[in-house]
């Protein structure tokens, strides 16, 4: 763990100075400021923010993660020629990418909330959005690392990263709707729960909406989650699924990284 800490510190030093992370922080600051200041209805502001978070964070994280990993290839090679084990290096680089990016989001989003939001009455929504944002950052960086470890060609890897984001953020909902339409005569509840758990963006959305007791208004999967698990259990299950979404790609990529030829 000592080695991980050392690498992590230097990686954070590097990433935090990146102009992209600064720009990303500023973006969330502006969006948060706009919504907290100009939106009359608190719930509407939150739902708008949630939509921005579940679309933008996965996109930025998967692209940033892939580019960062591809650009670090020679550095990784140099580090692996030092007395260091592959697992420590990989964990160090992963956390060194995910922590600064989620901190950028958390800072950018928290400053306007603390300055302009109604801190006490909006606290739960704020914490939930923060949690979803951080979890999605870790998930999509883990997916980006998995792609980059397996695919040596940078342009193919980036293409695949964007394709995965497109499927999960846009196409997936269409597929779910199509299934519901074609199989409307069959009981689909269990299948829908499995389908939702297979999409971290969907899980993030359900987790947030369940808190506001409007899950049923926001789509079929949300309604099923609420009916099956109730709000609290549904939220716990969504968070567990999201954590699973970090662990699976992380462990897979760590395993492939351990065997990779440089």
């Amino acid at each position: 763990m000592k080695l991980v800490k050392k690498i992590l510190l230097y990686e954070i030093h590097n990433t935090i100075r990146s102009k992209w992370v600064i720009l990303y922080t500023f973006f969330f600051f502006l969006v948060g400021y706009g919504l907290f200041t100009f939106s009359g209805d608190v719930n509407k502001a939150y739902i708008s923010l949630m939509h921005i978070i579940i679309i933008i964070i996965p996109l930025v994280s998967i692209i940033f993660g892939s580019i960062y990993f591809y650009n670090s290839r020679e550095f990784i090679e140099m580090m692996l020629s030092q007395p260091i084990d592959r697992k420590s290096l990989f964990l160090g680089i992963f956390l060194g990418t995910a922590i600064p990016l989620s901190t950028g989001f958390a800072l950018g989003f928290s400053i306007p909330f603390l300055l302009f939001g109604k801190v006490i009455e909006q606290l739960t929504g704020y914490i939930l959005l923060l949690l979803i944002g951080v979890l999605l950052t870790f998930i999509f960086i883990a997916i980006a690392f998995l792609i980059s470890v397996k695919q040596d060609d940078k342009s193919k890897g980036l293409g695949l990263a964007i394709l995965i984001w497109l499927i999960l953020a846009v196409v997936y909902d269409g597929i779910v709707l199509m299934i519901i339409y074609y199989f409307q005569d069959y009981p689909l509840e269990n299948a829908m729960i499995i389908l939702s758990a297979m999409n971290p963006i969907d899980l993030g959305r359900i987790l947030f909406l369940m808190k506001f007791d409007i899950a049923a208004l926001m789509g079929y999967t949300g309604a099923i989650f609420q009916r099956f698990f109730g709000s609290s259990l549904g939220m716990i299950i969504s968070i567990a699924c999201l954590l699973f979404w970090i662990l699976v790609p992380f462990f897979l990529s760590n395993r492939f990284f351990g065997r990779k030829d440089f």
Binding site: E11, F75, S81
Partner: protein
């Protein structure tokens, strides 16, 4: 001493190293030469554990390499392409490596002054030229006083003046009886620096011996010619 026993490496259907048996002597400069794609880089990367052999054994100082990594305390490596996290500085990278390596023997004065690196060490890598990054790689390879030094086409990105200073550094390491492994396409550089020569062709060793014996054997005065003769076999 570094030895390879029946070392095979394939990337899918492409067999890059075909049953390599080789011993690299201690305290000498061994040059590994061969055309592009002959397996030079794969061979030296396998010593560092960067490439995992398909089969066969590699030993460093009589100890077989498995998943161990501490043996790399003994090795300094300079790769073909130098690229570092763009917002970090040379000094930051050096202190990261210092904290990882066990060795307290860090001596950069000679290298910093002969490669004229002093003003560059405080600048972020994104503001440094390819050649300067390559010099920082040389610093990382030499400064920790490793017993074994591996140089993969080290002068490819250096200007002629830096290249000659670099060769002086290698010569000084040679005087200290370090084991140096070098790959290069520049035959005059190989002739200038090396004691032993290994010629690789399509993943097989076609020659191993001193440069003098190769020249005598092929009745040539230039190394380039002698190597061209080897390729005809």
């Amino acid at each position: 001493m570094i030895s390879f026993k029946n070392l095979v490496k394939d990337f899918g259907k492409n067999e890059v190293l075909k049953s390599i048996n080789l011993s690299i002597d201690e305290g000498k400069v061994t040059a590994i030469v061969g055309p592009n794609g002959s397996g030079k880089t794969t061979l030296i990367k396998s010593i560092l554990g960067l490439v995992r052999p398909t089969s066969g054994i590699i030993e460093v100082d009589g100890i077989e390499l498995k998943d161990d990594y501490l043996y790399r305390n003994k090795i300094g490596y300079m790769s073909q392409i130098a690229r570092y996290p763009e917002n970090l500085t040379g000094n930051e990278i050096i202190s990261l490596i210092k904290s990882i390596r066990e060795s307290n023997e860090y001596n950069d004065k000679e290298i910093l002054s002969s490669l004229k690196l002093f003003p560059e060490m405080e600048k972020p890598f994104k503001n440094l030229s390819g050649g300067t990054k390559q010099k920082i790689s040389a610093l990382i390879a030499f400064a920790f006083n490793p017993k074994i030094i591996i140089l993969d086409e080290p002068t490819a990105g250096l200007d002629p003046i830096s290249s000659s200073y670099f060769k002086d550094l290698v010569m000084r390491q040679k005087e200290k009886k370090k084991t140096i492994i070098l790959t290069s396409h520049l035959m005059n550089e190989v002739q200038e620096l090396s004691d032993e020569l290994v010629f690789l062709l399509e993943g097989e060793i076609k020659f191993k011996g001193t440069i003098k014996s190769l020249l005598e054997n092929k009745k040539e005065s230039k190394l380039e010619r002698a190597i061209a003769e080897l390729m005809k076999i």
